[in-house]
Symmetry: D2
């Protein structure tokens, strides 16, 4: 279909020379000066820079820098190699990536389609700057729809008995070059083994304003508690159910007149928007994780 083909947005500039750097390290004097001096010396021009110091005295320092470097593809490797000296001086965790190298996504889905539909729509509209490499599902419902976008759809049923084998099959079809896995209302608990492979690289959307209403049927829980606002939460998956680092949350007002069906209907739009924002921020290298919290630049 025509609509599915327009994946090149006309207003996206040629960004072949743009790169992003993420840094986490213990705070100390001279970090910003050292990094910006290093980039300047190597001919890079800083376009955007954000930083955050958790606590001026002895805390952690986080930084995201977006810069342009002429002939980036030629110079990136040398830049990385040269930066090692700065990084080791300040004991940095760091990463550097060319903006032109799109992140590769695997989307997991069950039967509820709204989050998947939203991601696909934002992707074909050019708003999600990533490649959707494949979709994995324990159901067949979305197969035709996903394949109409030219995206491979892997149907891998999961039962209590076959869970281990199913996860292995998932890891096999995902392969080795997926950057991030999106659980777009995938109603299965991920095993610690699987999580370990993708530490801070699995994003889940939970249909409540966490930490309220952890676990199953959060809209029914919300209805029973009589809350006046409902929400949704996108977070990285950890071994603790619905307990991982929160990337984004949003909410909407409801009233006594909204029953569970209506809460679900209202919630679907919150879920869509929150998950899409979190995925966008992740693929734009805006999210750093420290212990169980995120820094979002």
């Amino acid at each position: 279909m025509e609509i599915h083909a327009k994946q090149v947005r006309p207003d996206v500039k040629n960004r072949a020379d743009r790169a992003r750097m993420l840094i986490s390290c213990p705070d100390g004097p001279g970090i910003v000066a050292a990094v910006s001096h290093f980039l300047h010396q190597h001919g890079a021009n800083i376009v955007q820079s954000d930083q955050y110091t958790m606590d001026p005295a002895g805390g952690m320092f986080f930084m995201r820098i977006e810069f342009d470097l002429p002939q980036l593809s030629v110079n990136l490797l040398k830049l990385e190699a040269d930066f090692e000296e700065v990084a080791s001086r300040f004991k940095m965790d760091w990463s550097l990536s060319a903006v032109s190298r799109k992140k590769k996504l695997a989307i997991f889905v069950s039967k509820e389609d709204h989050c998947l539909v939203e991601l696909l729509w934002q992707w074909q509209a050019g708003d999600l700057d990533a490649d959707i490499a494949l979709v994995v599902s324990n159901h067949l419902d979305m197969k035709d729809y996903v394949e109409s976008f030219g995206i491979p759809y892997h149907h891998i049923p999961v039962t209590a008995d076959t869970k281990k084998e199913a996860e292995q099959r998932q890891l096999d079809v995902i392969g080795n070059d997926i950057d991030v896995i999106i659980l777009a209302r995938y109603m299965q608990i991920i095993s610690p083994m699987f999580i370990e492979h993708y530490r801070n690289r699995i994003i889940n959307i939970h249909h409540s304003f966490l930490p309220a209403f952890v676990g199953g049927k959060p809209y029914a829980q919300a209805y029973n508690r009589g809350v006046k606002i409902i929400g949704a939460t996108a977070h990285y998956v950890t071994e603790e159910l619905d307990g991982g680092p929160i990337i984004e949350q949003d909410v909407q007002r409801v009233s006594h007149g909204d029953d569970v069906t209506e809460l679900k209907r209202i919630g679907r739009t919150i879920e869509r928007v929150v998950l899409a924002r979190a995925v966008k921020w992740h693929v734009e290298d805006r999210v750093l994780v420290h212990e169980n919290k995120t820094v979002v630049f």
Copy 2:
């Protein structure tokens, strides 16, 4: 002071003939017809009417009616007496009150002043249509300020050992004609004995988006969990800590850069606004309680 004296708002109309009726009963056919017919027969004109049916089949029915009745003060007693027949036919819980009869408030406060200051400001601005009969505190901090409004201030210290006696003293100074007690950041747990005296008539402001972060230090809990939105909750006090029927909630977006001190600062304004709305709705007879939930018209 001049500012404290302007308690009569010029734009408030003469509402001597206005009354409000609250009704809860099992749902069934003909309730609206019976009530509106009754009021019409007695010469009342319905100005505003709200209703809600929890579930069309066999659920509960809730109604709030605001009406004008000529010479209300003369006719109110007869109206109440005559309504008994309708009420018993439909097994109604109901109440009827003249708008001109202002609700009497007792405000409990500890050291944090912002919620009390807000209520006093809204009251003197004419936005809170109630009488603030007295303030009770376990501290002396707000004494001069409260008394400058001409409002009695009762300093009743509370310790673990004296709690029972202190609550008895509180009940004594409150007396018998207080309609509702506002816990405006009153940092003491209310005993079941005390709650029993004011069932669904004690409003607390909790400084989190309940049911998240029940109990002490909710802003520190929110900071540690890394939430992206904080909130406050006004609810009726029950025996379960922070577990009573929610009247109102509101939230505000925060970021990783906001430490606990900043969360508290942002939260103070949410708390003020949420508590003031809940109190306003209560004194305007807009809140009905059913089991552990509220209907807010």
Copy 3:
């Protein structure tokens, strides 16, 4: 595709006997009593009732009633005929419709697809209780996509010279049984002749928080003015450009860092949500128009 077929939501109850009534009339005593008495006498059970009086003294009265009447299809005509007496007594504008009779929609679209995609998604998800009878466009872009849902797509080009003929062709393809026309980012001004045919039945989405930024390029206007919040507005179309009765608005916070492209991206989600809400409310008979304003129940 499977996704497009599930237009019957399993949790929608059998509502064959449910109807809705909308009433506007000069305020006066006894209206609620008369209407509810009438319905009760005819065996109807009121499920939901909302009313609003613009000004107690001599203003307008608005009411929406949802009720169940056994064997509605058999009894509806008699109910309508009998209600004439009540209606003429109070000089009512009124309408009565069976909930089971879905409203018929015509959607107009140009090249921007997001609002159309949203409406189609909500429709196939069962959240939009209406029939999408046809789509009209001055471009071919969305043809395949719309037809994949089994919905007729009428391509009617419009130029300055052919506008009159084009509008006549539009009226022809719409025919006589369309209830409401949705301008889902249809970038053509509708002529007074056309509007007259569908008074208060054409819903437009304007991509600004009206009345700010009337007319073309509202996101560029918003950027140039440096606003900190952007919005979208759904309104009925009148002869005054972007000046008709507002049905719904919503907003989102932006920052100095958001350029026009980013404002458009953020705005697309606001537009989608606001238009979908307005259409939902219209087809559920929740919107009454009085002069240039709406009452939304």
Copy 4:
């Protein structure tokens, strides 16, 4: 009164050595490197740094840096002198100020008290890190209240005939060391002569979501237009009425049931919150003005 005396917040750290720098200049390579290198060389430790480039190619560059410098009071003058070289190299507009040197505020008010009360409350609560040097009013209403805080109150009546003299008297009482003037619902138009003295240093709160409803009676305008959301806007005052650079805006949902009196009541809280935020950001050196827009860090 006790409440008015607690102007020292216990949790405010000793910030004697903290300073802030604001920079605006044409964008170009090496700015961040030069500034951070300069600060590092002088022994300063960057605590927070924000930057924004309006357009990577040939646009403007804005930066805010918060840093600690040992013995700041001794070293500040030398730092300023040394920075001249960097500043002239990049054609910077810049300013540097010690955090311990509080900004001095003059507040102008007429009869509506809510914005003034909010600023005074935030100030005494320690949330507004500034000195309120004096209050100027064309009315006497707030005199006693303001003076109870120990703040001088200057009553300067203004009529069409005496406007020029009145403004001169205002300038006289303000003197030469006021940093910023807050129009806290001061219902007089400021003359170009007066504005010229305090370019980008007069903050007004307008009681609408600008640019909607410029000028008088914005709540009545909003009611007549039938908007579903109302707002307030804090902006710097320029010669164009309600047309200056916007610092902050916020909004709240309203309904058809809210008349002008209710819109005003709801609006008062929006106004209070928006103005307080804008003032806070201004005194914390978070706002840079470029042409008719603000950058808020």
